[in-house]
């Protein structure tokens, strides 16, 4: 039972940290290598909220708003001029991530920051004591996933985003403001990354480079999902299970590289990854 809960909550955490990257990749066709920096920004929003004496949960909406606003500025002034040069756009996001990391270091120092636990303690579930917060993370992933699915399937913005993903030239020809769709999508993707940063604070140490490790995992998961929301959920479940099981029965070191190795093997076997599942 413990293993099942670990698999579900690990998959949930992977999903939360990857969904913003997937949204941006799907619509803008670029990998936002500053994704890790936005996760870090979110975590530092939790640090700031704690210093201001706010309720720890207030950091979640704060991080989403701050992340989205900074994402909007980045799209407008850095990404948009490079749309016709996607490789340069990707390199620009990489550089942007480094700059953000350095700015955070300047502002807060290199030391690990401490934030109040969003939900301490354990709860009894199906005969085992389990971290209450990890269960909340599972619920948060379900809520974020449902909200994301509703936005994509149930709103005009989502319909426009799907049209841009499928055929951007046709979408432009029909009068869809594709620049606006890209802008809003980048804001949402960046906001979700920062929200993930807050949700990670009870599980990971907060320092200026904390996002890098999560970026690598999210990148691998998005690569095997081929811009499909459902494929991302499936990939998080399968790779999350592999990570937990390898960590438990082989070695935590092998478990930590499980996602990268499995993603490479998956793409070697099926270039479209889980999107065919």
């Amino acid at each position: 039972m413990l293993l099942i809960l670990d698999v579900l909550t690990t998959a949930a955490i992977l999903f939360v940290t990857s969904i913003g990257l997937l949204a941006i990749f799907g619509v803008l066709k670029i990998i936002n290598f500053a994704h890790g920096a936005w996760i870090t920004i979110g975590a530092y929003c939790a640090v700031v909220a704690a210093k201001l004496g706010l309720n720890p949960w207030a950091a979640a909406p704060l991080a989403f708003v701050v992340g989205a606003a900074l994402g909007g500025l980045a799209e407008l002034f850095i990404i948009r001029p490079l749309y016709r040069r996607p490789l340069d756009a990707i390199l620009a996001t990489w550089g942007l991530g480094i700059v953000i990391g350095q700015l955070i270091t300047l502002g807060f120092g290199r030391d690990v920051q401490f934030t109040p636990n969003l939900l301490p303690g354990a709860v009894q579930l199906l005969g085992v004591d389990y971290s209450a917060y990890r269960l909340v993370a599972l619920g948060a992933a379900l809520v974020i996933g449902a909200a994301f699915a509703f936005t994509i399937e149930g709103t005009r913005l989502g319909l426009s985003a799907r049209a841009v993903i499928m055929n951007e030239a046709l979408a432009r020809g029909l009068g869809i403001d594709t620049a606006r769709v890209r802008f809003v999508t980048f804001m949402i993707g960046a906001g979700l990354a920062s929200l993930a940063g807050v949700l990670l604070t009870p599980l990971a140490s907060v320092d200026p480079n904390m996002g890098v490790g999560w970026l690598i995992g999210a990148f691998m998961l998005v690569m095997v999902s081929n811009a499909s929301f459902l494929a991302l959920a499936a990939a998080c479940l399968v790779f999350g299970a592999a990570q937990v099981l390898i960590s438990a029965f082989v070695s935590p070191i092998f478990g930590s590289i499980a996602i990268a190795v499995l993603a490479a093997v998956t793409l070697r076997i099926s270039p479209k990854g889980f999107s065919r599942a």
Partner: protein
């Protein structure tokens, strides 16, 4: 609001004027100084063999390919630098030839994408069903699963959803059986009678083009080679330009 007011004041059909229009891709010039007029309520057929620049000219009018020379105006106002979204808001409808549908979206979603708001959908659908009643039962079907003829009718319907004042139609009759071509010709005639829309149609089906249009022009290597009125004698004259 200004665009809406302008549309309300403008005549039903758009007045399209091309003056020495030039455009292309990269280092290649495709359209080389085309001058052409589509007057309000008029249907003009743009004819020519493959690779002569017909589709590029339509994309240039719609702002999808950059204008390199000359001028394009609608109702006397220059469209230079306007994005496709602005032109569509001004009343330009487009029925493309290349990858013309979102295959994985439903018929309803393909039609929704032509509208600026879902509030306009019920009325627009009613008008669409008037042209092609079969769509009423296919709204939930994926567009990619429609037959070739049904897909063409969907493409045209989508272009008509916003009651365009100027329609740009790219080879809508390509590969269709005569009965479907007839339905499309009837729909174009009905739309012009109902809304007075102007149309520039790119075609390779000469009989269809001359049947639905008022005037024709032949594009050859990016330039207007000949033009005239769509009348009985026009067929032989156009064929001379299209023969190898």
């Amino acid at each position: 609001m200004a665009e809406a007011a302008r549309r309300a004041e403008a005549p039903a059909g758009g007045d399209l004027a091309l003056d020495e229009v030039a455009s292309g891709y990269g280092a290649v010039s495709i359209v080389k100084g085309v001058s052409l007029r589509v007057r309000p309520g008029e249907i003009v057929a743009l004819l020519g063999k493959n690779g002569m620049g017909k589709t590029t000219l339509l994309k240039t009018i719609l702002g999808m390919v950059a204008l390199r020379g000359g001028a394009i105006s609608i109702d006397g106002a220059s469209t230079a630098g306007l994005a496709p979204a602005k032109l569509v808001a001004l009343g330009v409808g487009y029925a493309p030839q290349e990858q013309p549908l979102f295959q994985d979206l439903t018929v309803r979603d393909n039609l929704r994408l032509a509208l600026s708001s879902d509030r306009l959908l019920p009325e627009a659908l009613e008008r669409a069903f008037g042209h092609f009643p079969f769509l009423k039962d296919r709204l939930s079907q994926r567009a990619g699963t429609l037959s070739g003829g049904e897909q063409k009718m969907l493409i045209l319907t989508r272009a008509l959803m916003l009651k365009p004042r100027l329609l740009l139609i790219d080879e809508i009759s390509e590969g269709l059986q005569p009965s479907v071509v007839d339905r499309i010709a009837n729909a174009l005639a009905e739309e012009r009678a109902a809304s007075g829309a102007s149309m520039l149609i790119v075609e390779q089906n000469l009989d269809f083009a001359l049947r639905v249009s008022d005037r024709w022009a032949v594009l050859k290597l990016g330039e207007i080679d000949d033009e005239g009125v769509a009348e009985a004698e026009a067929r032989d004259r156009v064929l001379r330009h299209l023969s190898v």
